[in-house]
Amino acid sequence: MTPEGVDLRLEVGAYVDRLAALLIDLLIVAGVLLALTLVIFLAFLAALRTQDELLARLLAMVWLLGFFVLRLGYFIGFELGAWGATPGKRRMGLRVIARDGRRLSADAIFTRNAMRELEVFLPAAFLFARGSGVDGALITLGGVWTGVFVVFPLFNRDRLRLGDIAAGTLVVKAAKVKLLRDIAEAAPATVSGVAFTHAQLDAYGVKELQVLEQVLRGGERRTMAAVAARIRTKIAWDGPTDVSDGTFLSAYYAALRHRLETGLLFGRRRRDKHDVAAQEKT
């Protein structure tokens, strides 16, 4: 709900999408770190050769700081920005919001990202601790315990991970949607001879209309043929039979939408074909 009182009907981001986003981000961070290390290593060699001690020290500092800053700062910096999402999340069409719908604060972003240490790096540490002299049973135990945090988002409705809980945030879908052409507008509304009676149009409701819209936008020939055949039988079509499926469907879509939208203006909303109550009032 916005302050203006309109429900935006946000959708919670899917677990798989978020996992993919995290992987992308981790790859980016790892890549940058690798590049940084390489560059600094080469510069360091050069500094050693020229006995430039100041430069060598400076490089060591940059390297240490770079590791520290990137590990957390990458996520915090991007989520604080105008997109509210890291590059990985943007790629997957996700963004972070505050659960209460208010402004996303810096504290919240810090918390949700600091918790990643517990959720991602700790299980990973257990995973890689094998063979370094730690008891195998202990590793398994710890791995199982911390593994719980990894799958935690699957067990609640809002797909909250621990960081989201502690920070009061939520990850939602925020993909860009292109404004598509209105297919009823494109349709030749008065195709010669293709006209429908009210009874023929009353066969369907809003739900079917939207399915039909998807079929038309999909534009796949076989589906269109099947749907057209179904509709022709259902409404006992007795008009010209030489009209192509596409034209027939577009015409029917336009006519049906006209009929249903006129109904809407008079306060009748016919949800689907089983919704007879709305029909009887006509």
Binding site: T2, P3, E4, V6, L8, R9, E53, R57, A60, M61, L64, L65, F68, R71, E79, L80, G81, A82, G84, R95, R102, A106, D107, A108, I109, F110, T111, A114, M115, R116, E117, L118, L122, W145, F149, L162, I165, A166, A167, G168, A174, K176, V177, K178, L179, L180, D182, I183, A184, A187, A189, V206, E213, R217, R257, H258, L260, E261, L264, L265
Partner: protein
């Protein structure tokens, strides 16, 4: 031309230009930043946003074009987050943080901080006792890398040498300080984040820290170097240990809030503790920065015991007054 026979056609035709304009503005603002927008465009943005919202409401009522509604929902969502979204914090926010938010958050978790201190002190005492009785315990408490020659078998002279490092002018003190800063900050973030796991991991970290501390002290006491060792430790330790205690406290407060939410809901309680913890942690990282400066530079450069104690006492007073001294709260806000 299919004359605009549907109401929803006319509706769309009349407003489409505004929607596209809003979309273009958002694209530009998100890619290039808010500053690139002209003042007139800035003023236009919220207006267009509200228009899109009202279009959405109307469309839901009168239009059956699902694609149109989807588009308007996505557009309004984007604009909504842009209009009400996060703002990069300015200087005023940073000022407010040091003047008000940070000390307040630190005071709010004093119980948890005390718990972290108690855990540390208790384990330090236990470790101290064990090492005093049986020096071999030392190795169980102190990781090999940290000991760096400070071992039970070492001579008194060697130990004294570690307390007063000789400077050849070649050591990279600033590199050392940087390393200490990043390393300690990472540990502090661990202590904070691990608190969510029902406090157990945080308490464990605090205990490990305390044990190391106790074992070291015992080692130096056995060689009659207690006074010197404490000076060596406290010159930065006051700041560093306090920062670690605060991080532990913040972690414990999260775990506690999850297990015992009180009269809030569990989610709400966790969120409250989490955000407060974040404020504390922001400050902890600043403290660790100072601690690293003290450890990396001051400890190496100041070799006199009394001067070390003086610096330690000064930092203790500064932090103590800053965090816990009573003050007028209303004045700042």
């Amino acid at each position: 031309m299919a004359e605009l026979q549907l109401k929803s056609h006319r509706f769309r035709a009349e407003r489409e230009e505004d929607w596209r304009r809003l979309e273009r503005l958002l694209d530009r603002a998100q890619k290039k930043g808010l500053r690139k927008l002209a003042p007139a465009e800035l003023l236009e943005l919220p207006v267009l946003y509200r228009q899109a919202l009202s279009s959405l409401s109307v469309a839901r009522a009168i239009s059956l074009d699902q694609a149109l509604i989807d588009y308007l929902e996505a557009l309004s969502t984007r604009a909504y987050f842009f209009v009400y979204g996060a703002r990069a914090s300015g200087w005023a926010r940073i000022g407010g943080f040091f003047r008000r938010d940070w000390p307040q958050a630190v005071r709010a978790i004093w119980r948890e901080t005390l718990a972290a201190v108690l855990v540390t002190v208790l384990t330090a005492i236990v470790a101290y006792g064990l090492v005093m009785r049986e020096p071999e315990w030392f190795h169980s408490f102190v990781p090999g890398g940290l000991a760096a020659g400070r071992e039970p078998g070492a001579t008194t002279e060697a130990l004294r040498g570690t307390l007063y490092p000789k400077l050849s002018g070649k050591e990279g003190l600033e590199v050392m300080a940087t390393f200490l800063f990043t390393h300690n900050s990472q540990i502090a973030i661990f202590a904070f984040a691990f608190g969510f796991a029902l406090c157990i991991l945080t308490v464990g970290l605090m205990a490990a820290n305390g044990a190391t501390l106790g074992a070291f002290l015992a080692l130096f006491v056995q060689h009659g170097l207690l006074f010197e060792a404490v000076g060596w430790l406290l010159i930065h330790g006051v700041t560093e240990l306090l920062a670690v205690m605060l991080a532990g406290g913040a972690g414990i407060s999260i775990g506690w809030a999850v297990v015992f939410p009180g009269d809030r809901t569990r989610l709400d309680s966790a969120m409250h503790a989490g955000r407060r913890g974040a404020v504390v942690m922001g400050g902890v990282i600043v403290m660790l920065f100072f601690a690293a400066l003290l450890e990396g530079f001051a400890r190496q450069l100041v070799q006199d015991d009394l001067a070390r104690y003086a610096i330690a006492a000064a930092t203790a007073v500064i932090w103590g007054v800053y965090f816990y001294a009573p003050r007028r709260l209303g004045a700042a806000s």
